[in-house]
Point group: C2
Chain length 159, copies 2
């Protein structure tokens, strides 16, 4: 059977347009770090262990797409620098990242359990990404969630 796929031009498809911004591993990992509270270039570089050129490119793409925004900060005695913060548009990518993480935990669970526990701040109940057609179902936003280290979190021992 010929798929009906070929009756359509999907160049304006939302998945395609999302991937035009996010379409490779480093970009999504930069976002992961932003959700984990990383803001400075040197911290992103250290967290990801990727080349500084690649990182600089990815951060520029995310700023241009209004997913991250630059804010200046100054420490006493040092020249002002920039920090990267998630915009509202960027924070709204959390369900997509959480869906990817949930998928891994379901099909290839980490031996010690999830790295992060995501719960409803109010009820303390475990949060999950679902597809729903219930108009009354109120989606939880990032600010309503508590993201805490889970059973699989590996704390780094410092000397």
């Amino acid at each position: 059977m010929r798929p009906t796929r070929f009756d359509f031009d999907l160049s304006n498809c939302g998945i395609q347009r999302a991937l035009d911004v996010l379409g490779e591993k480093w970009t999504l990992l930069v976002l992961r770090e932003a959700f984990y509270g990383v803001h400075r270039f040197d911290d992103f570089a250290r967290a990801l262990g990727c080349g500084r050129g690649v990182l600089s490119d990815r951060l520029k793409t995310l700023v241009a797409a209004n997913v991250l925004e630059l804010r200046d900060y100054a420490e006493p005695g040092l020249r002002p620098r920039s920090e990267y913060y998630l915009t509202a548009k960027g924070r709204d990518l959390f369900p997509a990242l959480m869906a990817l993480s949930q998928w891994s935990e379901r099909w290839d669970p980490a031996p010690d359990g999830p790295v992060a526990d995501v719960t409803d701040r109010r009820s303390g109940r475990r949060a999950r990404v679902i597809i729903s057609a219930d108009a009354r179902a109120k989606p939880l936003s990032l600010s309503e969630l508590d993201i805490a280290p889970g059973p699989g979190a590996r704390r780094i021992k410092r000397k």
Copy 2:
């Protein structure tokens, strides 16, 4: 403030492990085509317009990760060939792809509206990806959804 991020080793994080399989644009677009009903190598190549080497690599990665599976088919008079089908694990990626698409439609809406309408097969109501901590909320699975061309779908005119 130093992010607590650096107290932890995230190498076993679910996002990271998902991206080890899915971490670039072509892989996610291959999956998009699988959800749109494409099964044959030549059809994937035509739908994506990517090089056959890249496509072959991505399909192998997805089969090795048990996201796609090979099934043989034979047309009368032709030698048997293989088709690629989503496994249960592959179908379970739909919420992640739908979350990416929903994000694009929210923040960079296509001028004519979404390319696809995803509805609950039973109620006909629009389906959406949400984060929920309501244990009673029943997630809709792919088989409970109807995916139809939306207002932004561009039908290809054939001569």
